[in-house]
């Protein structure tokens, strides 16, 4: 059962990554950059595509629960308590991710408002659209919970030798770096775009490599028993 769940976790690693990345690409391709009026008119013109982007993000949150349980069952024999701790962190991440989708849907209503005629002028709607900073903070909080869960899962992988130690150690390093970056985003949001981009690379490598390894090679249960 452990090997099956490890392969399942590998598949879910890649699924979650694909859904999250696709969501960011689709949403940002529609909204683009510029003032409230520009963004609003682009979203109104491609509302369905924008909604697809938000649904992909929601799918990512759902898949995170499946991934967390897959990883939990995989590493539980090595350390049940740490496995449960990591599972709870990743579950919190999924819940905060769901709330983040709600905030994005909230923001969508603000961007769609000019198409329907309403009680607010475009300046007021633009001010309301600044609420997206709340959504960004939600992403940061979800990411920090992800980092803690990811650090613990990779640490258990490192201790158990279920996957190559170098890969597990890289996962721990990348998760800690990513956590530091997201704390930096919360502390200094206006100067965080470059650190965020750079800090995302190690965790992206770790997740893709671990996902593929688990999916193709599974876990080395025999070695752990010896």
């Amino acid at each position: 059962m452990q090997r099956s769940y490890a392969r399942f976790a590998g598949a879910m690693y890649l699924t979650v990554l694909a859904l999250d990345i696709a969501s960011v690409i689709v949403s940002s391709a529609v909204s683009g950059s510029g003032g409230f009026g520009d963004v609003s008119s682009r979203i109104i013109a491609s509302e369905t595509v924008y909604r697809v982007g938000l649904c992909l993000a929601l799918g990512g949150s759902v898949a995170t629960v499946l991934l967390a349980v897959g990883l939990y069952v995989t590493v539980k024999p090595a350390d049940p308590n740490l496995a449960l701790t990591a599972l709870l962190f990743r579950t919190c991440e999924a819940a905060i991710g769901g709330v983040g989708t709600i905030l994005s849907l909230l923001l969508l209503q603000v961007y769609l408002a000019p198409a329907h005629g309403n009680a607010f002028d475009s300046h007021q709607l633009g001010a309301l659209a600044d609420l997206q900073s709340i959504g960004s903070s939600g992403t940061a909080v979800a990411a920090i919970f992800f980092c803690f869960g990811s650090t613990v899962f990779f640490y258990v992988f490192l201790q158990s030798r279920y996957i190559p130690r170098l890969m597990a150690a890289w996962g721990v390093f990348a998760s800690v770096v990513y956590a530091a970056v997201w704390f930096f985003v919360l502390i200094a949001p206006h100067i965080s775009s470059i650190p965020l981009a750079v800090g995302s690379i190690p965790i992206l490598i770790a997740e893709v490599a671990t996902g593929l390894w688990l999916l193709i090679a599974g876990v080395r249960v025999q070695e752990q028993r010896a």
């Binding site: 629960v65 769901g98 709330v99 849907l105 209503q109």
Partner: protein, 235 residues
């Protein structure tokens, strides 16, 4: 676990959940009871301000129902753990995320009370704008409910499967619950969810109500539950 009494306790708590959830929606004007979501901001504002206590009581009951659903998650886990510990855990996690998101949505239901309360710092907005914000907040709560339903879909899919596999609860109830779960998962594709909403709601209500009644009246097949529990302990 006392296999003879616990299912009936779960059934009664399930009934309590139904009563608080339905009661809350019926009591709080415009929060999803009969007639659906209001579209007239002025009329909604009037109903909230004229029945503020009733509105807050309804929202509060909804929050209580969410808390009860958290407790139910733990009880369902204990009931279905002998079938598959891992899938029961997965079911509980989906339920907990569902409850967290639903509880968050309550904030949007309470926001109209604050917006329409007439605090002096809100005087920068005119009445029409405050009423629009209050209605907008209620619509946000509805959107949040749609997000929660996706997690409800994951929960019910595994819940139904576990019941189907259990052998100590009727398989047809498991099938109904899993079908309802698939229905809620269509909220990942909103146009499909809108097309199937009536069918999903009917199946969802029938599935949960039949499980609740079955637990209260019939309980579970004690002998089969003990057998599954012994098998789980042995493995």
């Amino acid at each position: 676990m006392n296999a003879r009494s616990r299912p009936r306790v779960i059934g009664v708590i399930y009934l309590l959940y139904f009563l608080t959830a339905v009661g809350g929606a019926l009591i709080a004007p415009g929060t999803g009871g009969p007639g659906g979501l209001p579209t007239n901001a002025s009329a909604f504002a009037k109903s909230v301000t004229s029945q503020e206590l009733q509105y807050e009581l309804g929202v509060g009951l909804g929050l209580v129902s969410t808390a009860i659903y958290v407790a139910l998650a733990g009880l369902f886990y204990l009931l279905l753990r002998p079938v598959s510990r891992t899938l029961a855990l997965l079911m509980v996690l989906f339920d907990l995320v569902l409850c967290a998101v639903t509880a968050f949505a309550t904030v949007f239901q309470l926001a109209p009370v604050v917006l329409l309360d007439g605090g002096s710092y809100l005087s920068v907005f005119d009445v029409r704008q405050l009423q629009a914000l209050a209605l907008l907040s209620l619509h946000f709560s509805d959107l949040a409910g749609h997000v929660a339903l996706v997690f409800a879909g994951g929960f019910q899919l595994f819940f139904g499967y576990l019941i189907y596999r259990s052998g100590f609860l009727p398989r047809i109830i498991g099938v109904l619950i899993a079908v309802a779960g698939l229905g809620w998962l269509t909220f990942l594709i909103p146009p499909l969810a809108a097309f199937l909403i009536t069918e999903t709601e009917v199946v969802g209500f029938a599935a949960e109500a039949s499980l609740m009644l079955w637990l209260i009246v019939m309980g579970v097949n004690d002998q089969r539950w003990e057998q599954r529990a012994a098998e789980a302990r042995a493995s």
